[in-house]
Amino acid sequence: MSRKFLETESPAWVAEGIISAEQQQRLLARYPTEAVQAVGLLPLLGSILLLLSALSVVAANWQSLPTQVRLGLLLSSLVAAYAGGEYFLRRGNRRVGHGLVGLGLVLFGVSIILTSQLYQLVGYDVSGLLAWVVVGMLLSYLYESQALALLPIMIGAAVQTYCTQALGTFSYATLGLVALGSGYRWWRRPDTIVASVLATGLLWQAALWVALSHSKITWFFIPAMLVYAAGDWHPERSASRALQGPPLIAAYLFALGLALFGETDQYAGLLRPPVLAYLGALVAVFGLSVAGKRQRGRLASLPDWLLLLPGFYLPGGLPLAVATLVVLYAHAGSVLARAHRSGEAEQLTLGTVLFVVATMVAYFKLTWAFLDKSLFFLIGGVLLLGLSWYLRRRNAQRLAAGVATVAAGSATPPGSSDKTPAA
């Protein structure tokens, strides 16, 4: 029950004599106004703004400053940020403290870049920027802070972008540091936001690798699904789902693209890596994922892998388009079925949206080119009707079971019947 609800409704309760005015005050006092949720990000944003303003002042006069002064400015602001962070942390102000420590980390990177620029050492190699990632990683272990856990992931992505775009090399050390360092930290202290950002950062680096090495873009899904499989092994369900979100979104978008553009063999030809190597790697990752799911009792989410079926090996044209659509429908159906079993409203909405999207793709791609329009919608409609009939039947069954339980008068807690299908 939200505070706002209490505030708007409680005067009426007093007026109707349900509660007394004193009880209303006690209730309101029981639920104090909540702090703004997004406040965790504020120190991060604040430190970035501060940094930008300081940078613009110094940058305007940077070239005219003597070398020693420049170095001194950089190093003293670095020390000041860390000292300030420790000071605020000791006084118990965690947000400002962590913000200042984050600022110190950003200043370290700026110092490396500007010092290299001062001596025209830029572009020599990546070791300077790698040191930045290492320090960020160590700080994320030293402090219990979400913002400081996010920083090294973002710094790693930025460093990798610079490496691939400016230096033309891929820094495996950066990827390894983020995957193992930030990954282990997330494993020990699971957090949904860190999980999503970590997965996105790793996928970004994987995409950069694919772009740089001119590999077939389907190779991207080997590292992406490795991230997914890591989520399968994590004991905490919400953190695991958050880590699996970005790889699944990428796989879904890819399947959607295949359904939309796959009928031209030219596009499909761009996606076909050597069969044995690709399928071998994919099956290995799949095995890892299945083992994790079995270990944690989450085999229900196995149909996620439908999106990874390598349909692009089929000849382009009708077979490919139809096969991809079937996969999209099957996936949407599996999400719907799982949502029904777990009784989660959001999953149900997601499944419905996926279903509608698959139908729209079918409409735009197939109906007026290949298949008889009415036939396809007949199939779609029958599928939807059948599903709704099944869901309704399940609901009725569950209701009946609930009534039976109540009638039996057993002492089972009310939530227990909801949880049984997840086992």
Binding site: Y82, S111, Y119, G123, G128, L138, A166, G168
Partner: protein, 181 residues
């Protein structure tokens, strides 16, 4: 894992900050020492495109030694793209460095007037090798004559190579200082 402000935690933070200070000082020291104790060579480039200065603070330098004949390759196996190489440079009569050989391992004893520069193979053509030295990005200082130029001037780049192999651009000089008018 230490998360509270225990003495050991504070000690670790201090060590980490000190390491960062030392690292930045090390970068500066390496840059200084490269000039002070390094070997100096002069490289020629093709005319510099100054258009990038309108929206960036660096220009891209294209060295004449970025292309070497395949005959200069000294290695047991054919060169590969992205392979790290050692380029032996010898100073010509006009004091400009030219490629004397491209090695896949450090060449044994460079003679007087020769220098070794680290490089990477970017392309392998039928008769030539494309090379990259990571000296291609030059951050143009505010007082550089390049900032005043409108056309694409020919330049001479003075590079110093540290005894431990690190190289950096020392200065970039216009061949004809009249380009700005």
């Amino acid at each position: 894992m230490p998360t509270r402000s225990t003495p050991s935690h504070r000690m670790l933070v201090r060590l980490l900050v000190a390491a960062q200070l030392l690292y930045v000082l090390g970068v500066a020291g390496a840059g200084y020492a490269t000039t002070a104790y390094g070997q100096h060579i002069v490289l020629a480039t093709s005319p510099v495109d100054l258009h990038s200065l309108q929206y960036e603070s660096f220009v891209r330098l294209r060295y004449t030694i970025a292309e070497a004949p395949l005959a200069a390759w000294r290695g047991p196996t054919p060169p590969q793209r992205r392979q790290g190489v050692y380029v032996l440079l010898s100073t010509g009569a006009d004091s400009l460095a030219t490629v004397a050989g491209v090695y896949d391992a450090a060449p044994p004893h460079p003679a007087a007037g020769q220098a070794v520069l680290r490089g990477w193979v970017t392309d392998v053509f039928p008769h030539t090798l494309g090379l990259r030295y990571n000296l291609e990005r030059y951050y143009v200082p505010g007082d550089s004559p390049l900032r005043l130029g409108k056309t694409s001037p020919p330049v001479r780049v003075r590079v110093s190579i540290a005894p431990w192999g690190q190289a950096r651009i020392e200065s970039v000089r216009l061949l004809r200082p009249t380009a700005s008018r």
